[in-house]
């Protein structure tokens, strides 16, 4: 939309063709980017394309030649004001106020929360917010900005990676709003966070608060470094279960930032499709670096920080449970005595370990999926991989990535590459040639553009189960700078 604004501002008339259910979003973005009277034509998601074009062709041309109405000639300023004090009353009245909903036609008039994620919240009284602010040395009126240069990972030519510069104001999407430390504190109180969690919450805010490009779902986060111990994050049994206040409340705060700082409103400011069941309700966990095998780096060191620094990494766990399933005992049987299903799969029946679990768990994962894999291993499983011969995490990343190669003829049958290769017109990275110029038997990685798309995180526990999801290494943010 900023591009259309530039064109109209340059005197070039435009018309946008959207899909009919996107019209609210078009109107919303048109105002947000300064051309509220933007002309658009609604195409159909379901009608045959030729018939649909027959239907809209006249409208498209008309939008370029029909003289402007008085309304379309208007200029002005859109300057929405939000009061700092939103509500005054008893706690009971405040609960009712903050939990109000509105019915949105685009979601069949289902209620949608005005200020919350749909759950009850802790009322952000002045006193509670003040207490939250004691969790940081940063001033309440400081605007959230990037504290360091950040490399954002992309995918292919249509969504390339890019660099963000230290000092840049963080924009919370979809509305592109900014936020102060105090506004973040309000959301942290509402989520139920304690002041000692606040530096981590501010790092989440620096990362964009889980708002993404407006479809962020509240985000997903991994924490590395000593802060997990200081604030009591559960890195052990039950780390993905209810019961641990920091994991639950900090995980939740991204959803509130998306709703409140970013202005997410489904089918109005955002078209989200159907959401993300993995991150809905919050997704955060921390690394247990004490369990790493010798020579394996902690996530903070992998991301360019010191091992005593606390770091937040954003991830996108859109696929959960990647890889073969197994009972934890089957893994133990593999390594202890070479028995059970995994031993049969690997052809090591009767031979004690260490055996290469990676070969088993990654078998077939790229059949319906492209990209890297993130694995959460308990210390004994990581130690088994070390003993097998993987003396660094990087060695496993390289190994997994190389396993993902397949003939281009097979790769072409996949759904997403049509998009991120820009119709196969862009450059394939391993060859430096255009995708279309490569023969069908040329081997390409289904596991993403580089081994960096894989990631291993060690958490505590003795039960030999692993969690696996998509995402790999994401952008990293210092938590310590927000202390």
């Amino acid at each position: 939309m900023p591009y259309l604004t530039d064109l109209e501002a340059s005197g070039i008339p435009t018309v946008l063709i959207d899909l009919s259910e996107e019209t609210n979003k078009v109107k919303h973005d048109a105002r947000l980017y300064g051309v509220p009277a933007m002309r658009f034509v609604e195409a159909s998601r379901t009608m045959d394309g030729v018939q649909d074009v027959d239907r809209i062709l006249g409208q498209v041309v008309d939008a370029l030649v029909r003289p402007l109405s008085d309304e379309e000639k208007k200029s002005g300023v859109w300057e929405p004001k939000e009061p700092r004090i939103l509500f005054e009353g008893t706690l009971e009245e405040a609960e009712e106020f903050y939990q109000q909903t509105e019915n949105i036609p685009g979601i069949l008039n289902a209620p949608f929360a005005r200020y919350t994620d749909g759950l009850p919240i802790v009322i952000p009284t002045e006193e509670r917010v003040e207490r939250m602010l004691k969790g940081t040395s940063h001033k309440p009126d400081e605007v959230i900005r990037l504290q360091r240069d950040i490399d954002m990972r992309g995918i292919g030519e249509v969504n390339p990676g890019f660099k963000r510069k230290k000092g840049e104001i963080v924009r919370f999407m979809p509305m592109g709003r900014s936020a102060t430390v105090e506004q973040v504190a309000v959301n942290a109180v509402m989520a139920g966070c304690k002041p000692e969690y606040f530096p981590l919450v501010l790092a989440i805010a620096e990362s964009g608060g889980g708002t993404g490009d407006g479809r962020g779902n509240g985000g997903a986060y991994v924490v590395s470094g000593p802060i997990y111990r200081e604030i009591g994050m559960n890195v052990s049994y039950g780390r993905f279960s209810p019961g641990n206040p920091p994991n639950k409340t900090i995980g939740r705060v991204g959803s509130l930032m998306w709703r409140n700082l970013g202005g997410y409103k489904e089918r109005v400011s955002t078209i989200m499709t159907y959401g993300d069941p993995i991150t809905n309700g919050g997704f955060i966990f921390a690394e247990y670096a004490e369990g790493l095998p010798p020579g394996w780096k902690g996530l903070n060191e992998e991301l360019g920080f010191r091992k005593d620094e606390s770091v937040l990494m954003t991830v996108r766990p859109m696929g959960w449970g990647l890889g073969q399933e197994h009972m934890p005992g089957v893994y133990r049987s593999l390594q202890k005595s070479g028995h059970g299903a995994i031993a049969r799969f690997l052809g090591v029946k009767g031979k004690p370990g260490p055996h290469n679990y990676i070969d088993y768990i990654t078998d077939g994962i790229w059949r319906t999926y492209e990209g890297g894999i993130t694995m959460v291993l308990v210390p004994s499983m990581a130690m088994d991989m070390y003993a097998y011969g993987f003396k660094s995490k990087e060695a496993i990343y390289e190994y997994i990535w190389k396993k993902s190669f397949e003939p281009l003829g097979t790769y072409r049958m996949r759904g997403r590459p049509d998009w991120f290769t820009n119709g196969w017109t862009s450059i394939e990275k391993t060859s430096g040639k255009r995708w279309r110029e490569l023969p069908d038997d040329y081997m390409v990685p289904a596991g993403g553009e580089s081994p960096w798309e894989d990631c291993i995180i060690v958490c505590d526990g003795e039960e030999t189960a692993s969690e696996r999801f998509s995402g790999g290494h994401g952008a990293a943010y210092s938590i310590d700078v927000w202390r």
Partner: protein, 92 residues
């Protein structure tokens, strides 16, 4: 005793003011003009659209940029100088 009243803070982010612009003046007709098609997504619509426009409006100088992505491939400042109108779809 009356229940205590609290001042409660606003969780909403700060919206910068936006200058609202009028639309650019429209064309009298497409004849003889350079109209640019900025195509992103939905080939089932954009392929027949391009064919129909070029067939039904032969006196237009049509220019086209395409991407499978959701962000349009933008005109350069030089190209903007010689472009009279833009049709963009289906993403923005």
């Amino acid at each position: 005793m009356a229940e205590k009243k609290y001042e409660c803070l606003n969780p909403t982010g700060t919206q910068d003011p936006v200058d609202l612009l009028p639309l650019a003046p429209r064309l009298k007709s497409l004849d003889g003009k350079t109209i640019h098609m900025s195509i992103c997504g939905e080939p089932d619509i954009t392929i027949p659209l391009e064919k129909r426009l070029k067939g039904d409006y032969p006196n237009v100088n049509w220019t086209v940029k395409k991407t499978y992505g959701i962000a349009p491939r933008e005109l350069t400042p030089e190209e903007m100088k010689t472009t009279d109108g833009v049709i963009l779809g289906v993403c923005w």
